[in-house]
Amino acid sequence: MDRLDDLEAQSIFIFREAFARLKRIALLWSLGKDSNVMIWIARKAFFGRVPFPVMHVDTGKKFPEMYAFRDRYSVEWNLDLKIEQCPPLDTIDPTLPPAARSAARKTEGLKLALAKYGFDGLIAGIRRDEEPTRAKERVFSPRGLEGGWDVRDQPPEFWDHFNAAPPSGAHLRVHPILHWTELDVWAYTRREGIPIIPLYLARDGKRYRSLGDSDITSPVSSQAATIDEVIRELEATKVSERSGRAMDHETEDAFERLRASGYL
């Protein structure tokens, strides 16, 4: 067994724990490389099917390639797809910096979906290596009644024993690939032949390392036109993965505030 097998085995274990311990769960599908890897692993965990809904919280501002990908693979992978539209910008906290405010629409969209379906667990594809506040996450991460994350009061979690009893009305976030890195995701995508959105590969000297809303996500300079080249590029880079995501960089704590209020 190599490292990818270990990562996969741990993620399968987490999926099976979430499915066994929680009553009503959904997988958040951002259409990006991380959540595609998650869907792939869920199908391994459950022998070919994803036995819970897959939810796309749609800001309406994704790239056309992302919508095409969603429409094709939700059918091909036989997913129980739920699409949730986010509320308009004018309903969002105006004190947030502009890009963070735009991103916060997704948090509100999530809250609406939670209320509508009564999920007690949402499976999200965040990773510790993406961003310092995500490094502090638990695998089973409780959220308050308002969906907020209180980093000062995280429960202990050890030996793969998870806290899986959210207070009534609140929910848990479950993070099956928290321990993966960006490189792991690409190496696994290559090994397993998982389809990706072509925006991740360079065209005219630019590619996207992380995909979000088209108006607040920018491409990085790159010549990497294949997954192999992406992997080689990442092995040498010292630029952060989310450097193209505007809401991370507006103020020192913009992203932390987003996360505390329930962003992924």
């Binding site: 009893a165 490189l183 952060s240």
Partner: protein
Amino acid sequence: MNMLVTEKFATTPSADGLSGNRSLVRIVLAGHVDHGKSTLIGRLLHETKSLPDGKLDSIKAVSERRGVPFEWSFLLDALQTERDQGITLDTSQIRFRTKSRDVVLIDAPGHAEFLRNMITGAAQADAAVLVIDATEGVREQTRRHCYLLHLLGISQVAVVINKMDRIGFDESRFQELEAEMARHLASLGLPATAIIPISARNGDGVERRTPAIAWYTGPTVLEVMDRFSPAKRLTDLPLGIPVQAVYKFDDRRIVAGRVETGRLAVGDEIAIMPRGTTARVQSIEAWPEPDNARSPQSARAGQSIGLTLDRQIFVERGDVISAPATPAKAVRRLRARVFWLHDQPLAVGAAVGVRVGMAERRGTIALIENAVDPGELSPIEAKIIARNHVGEIEIALAQPIAADIYAVNPRTGRLVLELGGRIAGGGLILAVDGNASVENRQDSGAGRAAVSVQAARLNTELADLPPVERLKRFRAAIAGPLVFTTSFGLEDQVIVHMLAELGIDLDIVTLDTGRLFPETYALWAETERRYGRRIRAIYPHHGKLEALVEKYGINGFYDSREARSACCHVRKVEPLDRALTGAAGWIVGVRADQSINRQGTALVSVDERNLLKLSPLLDWTRDAAQSFAADNQIPLNALHAQGFASIGCAPCTRAIAPGEPERAGRWWWEEDGQKECGLHIASDGRVERAAKA
């Protein structure tokens, strides 16, 4: 943290790309608050050139804007409150690469308030670096973290004495702290890998031995990190698969779980514990569906798998799949050493949730002993276990659960406690009521702690002594009967000779399996003649032996691993239990270089029966034993001269070819490297128990 890759290694990706087979080691940084953990991490990232471009400058600019002097720790504190208060609240994880491997550094908070976060981080680690401020010395969180590392089962610990610049790099002060920590860790059975003087702020001792610490000759922090062993797969332990779920998505009924220990193959017989029902593995299921030729035929520790069985027996989440020969115990009452994290103290009579593997049961605390604050220098024993304290408990369970003691299986041998649906504590199982060798010993849990401390002390004391001195000191240190078990091998004969010369008072015992070589019986008689004393023989239990032969046939051990294990159990393991009844210490002829399983054996270890076990020839080579025997004209088994290196039962031992491993001639038809019958505990204190017939 963001994508961190060291430039000098980035240019030479391995042939199959990254993430392939560089080893990954997870290291937790522990220690008292403000002793400099985050500073050390910042420095390590800098020294390994792991910081993203511009990161250092941007943090320096932010510090300037906020009117505070730059600190390396600012690189780590991710949250606004952490930056404001200068305290790490929750564990973060940072990656970097050294020469030979990838490292995940786990930065654990040092504030007592956040012990649950320290535990969350440390429980994921393969090794620990404990940071101590040279100006403050050992503080309560230092001691508490040491104790928790021990309870979390982390056995590799290095200590750094930080802020050496603040005491003028004073060598004698360093030596005082070094001695204090070496003693403290040894008392917990956690010998320090290294104790290193450093200044994280200035870089001394982190990557380089600088002139300021010219008097120090040991490894640097990065060198120690390169030496820690990554997590080992527990493939050589008895099979254990806690069942996560049983799926019936289509016409298949799939039992899903992760193989925690051991291995299994299609066709194997398995036992479902705690019920004890049995079935055979019909298939190992996988997706995407492989073609028939490639469907998985076996699985091993670490894999998350799904099985179908040949019979429709009842299986549910929480059960443990074992090999019938080595089942997890069905337990109604257990004893554990635990840490407690809940605000409400743990008291006798409390109703708690108990989790072992995937099983959850309601339990009642029946007994509390040795409840102490591990942070105190001279702890006072309490009747309850307060928050962030530790103690030993006995729990009575409402329903039986499948479990083992930690010394036998570290995965099925640990438990988690819940209060009000929230994880509130955890610890190691010391004794269970299903275990005959434990149930007669009411105080075995408490006793075990004392025995572990004594083992650690003896290990240090005996390490540099010759075997004869080791035997003398061991005899003097053990209050109670000593047993030496011999199978008349080369090492055994050397030890018999030494014991006779010393005139040490002890019982010499051999296990007569009934299938020994004629040459072995001849040597037995000759040894008694030469040394003028009787060697006590222990025989298999006749009823069990008859049942064994009835079930498997007279030479059934050649047919399956299961039959072989059962035979070893009846003829050797069970008789050994009787040979050791009432003993306080046990002497054996194990050498570390006999086999991989025996490497890493401690000179003095604690056997699962709570016995101190000495291997006086542990660090001898075969050549050393041979020349000692020749010099002293010690009688040896005639088979050695015919190419037999390790000699057991006649049907199961053959000569080895030059260059073959020493134990290659034992059970030679079995393919894997586990050439043990179950008499000797493996390197990390675990034992492969052979079958019960």
